[in-house]
């Protein structure tokens, strides 16, 4: 099982996300994370999906997407020629004993403190997936109360855009 990131440009209409995710459900692919947002044009939305699966099935999936009239273009994104970012909000328990250690770890990861009380600290970290995973791992030494990740946003490097992709 490999991990794949694909970006899909779709018509900005109700029900389109459902049509796209339905393709994953049919093939028993589990979506690891998913982001959707409007694009430079209000007519289109961009969906970025990270998922696990077999390569042959992944290729099939990409071909099948072109059968959806609402899909404009699809691009598989590879780490070597794309940039990807994710944002993490993490709430850890605050106490006089751990306060300093949390702060130094946060500094090392350039985490921003966005909420602070005697009982808890909420920090924000941005970076690629690995960096976020690493920070969560470090925070496991303390008491993680809850976390929320945005999921990946990703663009190709250079002047290539998803609009240039055709079937």
């Amino acid at each position: 099982m490999e991990r794949y990131t694909i970006a899909i440009l779709v018509n900005n209409q109700s029900g389109v996300l459902n049509r796209v995710t339905s393709m994953f459900r049919r093939r028993q692919f589990n979506i690891a994370c998913l982001t959707v947002s409007e694009t430079e044009s209000p007519d289109y939305s961009r969906i970025t999906i990270l998922f696990e699966g077999e390569e042959s099935k992944k290729n099939q999936l990409i071909n099948q997407f072109y059968k959806l009239p609402d899909v404009i273009s699809i691009k598989e994104l590879h780490a070597k020629d794309s940039v990807s970012r994710e944002l993490l909000l993490i709430k850890v328990a605050n106490s006089p004993e751990t306060r300093e250690e949390i702060r130094s770890a946060a500094e090392a990861f350039e985490a921003k403190t966005v909420d602070y009380t005697r009982e808890s600290i909420v920090m924000q970290v941005t970076g690629d997936r690995k960096r976020i995973d690493d920070f969560i791992n470090i925070m496991r030494d303390f008491t993680i109360m809850e976390i929320c990740r945005t999921g990946l946003v990703a663009l190709q490097c250079g002047d290539a855009t998803i609009r240039q992709e055709t079937n």
């Binding site: 029900g15 459902n18 049509r19 099939q60 071909n63 059968k67 959806l68």
Partner: protein, 555 residues
């Protein structure tokens, strides 16, 4: 002109060239039925007995004409009853437009009476679907649905229209019938390597499917076959695409295909696949399927290329247009050795063919063949009779074999045969079995109402024969729930519906019954009694390869 939404729906259907639509009225589609009443001189509505029958009729109509079939149903159960019909059309790439009513926009999502999320339900079985929330979108949505249904690889499109949209008024401007798009030629750079591959082949085999019929590429395909001296076989969806008696045609191949056709494909060093998708019923065990062959695959649907087979050349494009570009690159070459081998396969097929006398399935269908006109559409249901028909019924004209391939929908045939008769304006034939016929025999009422000339050849063996065959071969003859001890008198049943029928227990009686049936104005059931242990042969066991082929029982 200012029209109601319901009027706009019907006017747009007329504008798009629909002469006949199929359906069933109900509370949330009542406005559309009022408009159908108003415009009845311009459009004919056929009332089915059940929405499933209506959907299959629209499907049969579409398969016979190539034009989108239209079906109309009400919300809730009316809409869900279409599901099997839509799925059948989807998997066989049949153009269809389904229009359903729904509750008022203000009530959507509140579980109102007869409310169902039909766009949600049909999401995986439609090419596309629409919920029309604004009257101003209505006419163009219907036009777009016709474009999508018939473009590229055809398929069903559903349009769900809430009742208040049917009642609202809006300006309607007639437009010209839409032109389906998506007919593209494969990329030039892909064509010449494919031509090289074909030119180098010593044992080429042409395998075509429904896509060749859709593209109307038979002439180009036959030219290719002549040039490279190749035999031709087809998937079940390809049947009637070329005349059965064409000298290069070996018939259907696959699980129950003709021996010669399957063997030629198995022994080929180059398979040219035209609008066919190498379904598991065609390939058997994929790892052992035609391992020595290079596959040149042409299909309008990119997602089919390389999906199940390791295609050497994938050409996404319209088959006719692509073949037109390919043909000039093909060298004429005679292949006497390969032709001799194919002839040997044919001889072997004749040798192992079922040559028994009496009421064998083959003899019954040969008797039917004598009555078929050039334009007669032959629909089937699903099961043993379907495979016997696919193997034995002779066709002269394209789009005349109407059968549920991909989904294998028992109960498809009654509606489909009605739709096909409407499309061809001629008598149609339904070859069915007692199992399948039992599923949607209510459509006898429709056939009687509209006096549809229809010969129903019911191959009555008192069992669910195809499942029984598997139980015999693979389940130690445990005939679990496949023995139909129903005691239905099909002649009396026909008479109860207002039609007629006759029993045939031997070939003389069958000939008499068929003579009566083909002289009858309306539907006629021929209750054709065959033995419960007849097999469909040859048979490639599921997951098997050509090495495992069963050509005779006891092999």
């Amino acid at each position: 002109m200012l029209l109601s939404g319901a009027d706009i729906i019907v006017k747009t259907l007329i504008e798009q060239g629909c002469e006949t639509v199929f359906g069933y009225p109900g509370g949330q589609i009542i406005n559309v039925y009022d408009s159908l009443y108003k415009y009845q001189d311009e459009i004919t509505h056929i009332l089915a007995a059940h929405e499933q029958g209506a959907a299959h009729a629209a499907d049969g109509y579409a398969r016979a004409t190539g034009k989108p079939g239209v079906v109309i149903a009400t919300s809730g159960p009316g809409a869900t009853n279409l599901v099997t019909g839509i799925a059948t059309a989807y998997i066989d790439s049949v153009p269809m437009v389904a229009i359903t009513g729904n509750v008022m926009t203000s009530q959507i999502g509140s579980d109102s009476f007869q409310e169902i999320d039909i766009t949600g339900v049909t999401l995986p079985i439609t090419k596309h679907n629409y919920f029309v929330g604004k009257i101003e979108d209505l006419a163009d949505t219907i036009r777009e649905a016709f474009v999508i249904a018939a473009s590229g690889r055809p398929g069903p499109v559903l349009i769900d229209v809430p009742k208040d949209i049917q009642q609202a008024k809006y300006e309607y401007e007639p437009k010209a019938p839409v032109v389906p798009g998506g007919r593209i030629c494969a990329k030039e750079i892909r064509i010449s390597p494919a031509a090289d591959c074909i030119n180098k082949a010593e044992r080429p085999f042409i395998y075509f499917g429904g896509g060749t019929i859709t593209s109307e590429a038979q002439e180009e395909m036959l030219q290719l076959a002549e040039l490279i001296d190749a035999p031709i076989g087809c998937s079940m969806m390809g049947i009637s695409g070329v005349p059965t008696d064409h000298p290069r045609f070996l018939g259907m191949q696959g699980m129950h295909g003709h021996y010669a056709s399957s063997m030629a494909m198995h022994n080929a060093d180059c398979i040219i696949a035209l609008g066919a998708r190498f379904n598991d019923r065609v390939t058997g065990n994929r790892a052992k399927f035609s391992v020595g062959a290079k596959i040149v695959h042409i299909d309008i649907e990119g997602a089919e290329l390389g999906k199940t087979t390791n295609d050497a050349h994938m050409l996404r494009g319209d088959i006719k247009m692509t073949l037109e570009k390919l043909l000039p690159l093909i060298k004429k070459d005679e292949k006497p050795e390969w032709m001799a081998k194919v002839a040997a396969f044919r001889e072997e097929e004749t040798r192992v063919q079922d040559n028994r006398e009496g009421m064998t399935p083959r003899n019954c269908l040969m008797a039917l063949n004598k009555y078929l006109g050039e334009n007669t559409a032959v629909a089937t249901d699903v099961g043993q009779h379907q495979m016997w028909a696919a193997q034995t019924v002779e066709f002269k004209k394209t789009r005349r074999f109407i059968s549920s391939g991909g989904l294998g929908t028992m109960g498809f045939g009654m509606g489909a045969a009605i739709g096909a008769a409407m499309a061809t304006r001629e008598r149609s034939v339904l070859v069915t079995g007692d199992g399948s016929f039992g599923m949607n025999l209510n459509e006898m009422a429709t056939a009687v109402t509209y006096n549809v000339p229809m010969v129903i050849l019911l191959m009555n063996n008192g069992v669910l024969g195809m499942v029984r065959q598997w139980q015999t071969l693979f389940f130690d003859k445990h005939y679990s729930n496949t023995i139909l001890d129903r005691r239905t008198d099909f002649v009396k049943l026909a008479q109860a519906f207002g039609a007629d029928g006759a029993v045939a227990t031997n070939l003389e009686e069958l000939d008499d019954a068929l003579a009566k049936a083909f002289a009858c104005d309306g539907p006629f059931i021929v209750d054709c009694r065959i033995d419960k242990d007849e097999f469909v042969l040859p048979m490639l066991p599921p997951g098997g390869s050509m090495d495992d082929i069963i050509v005779k029982v006891g092999d």
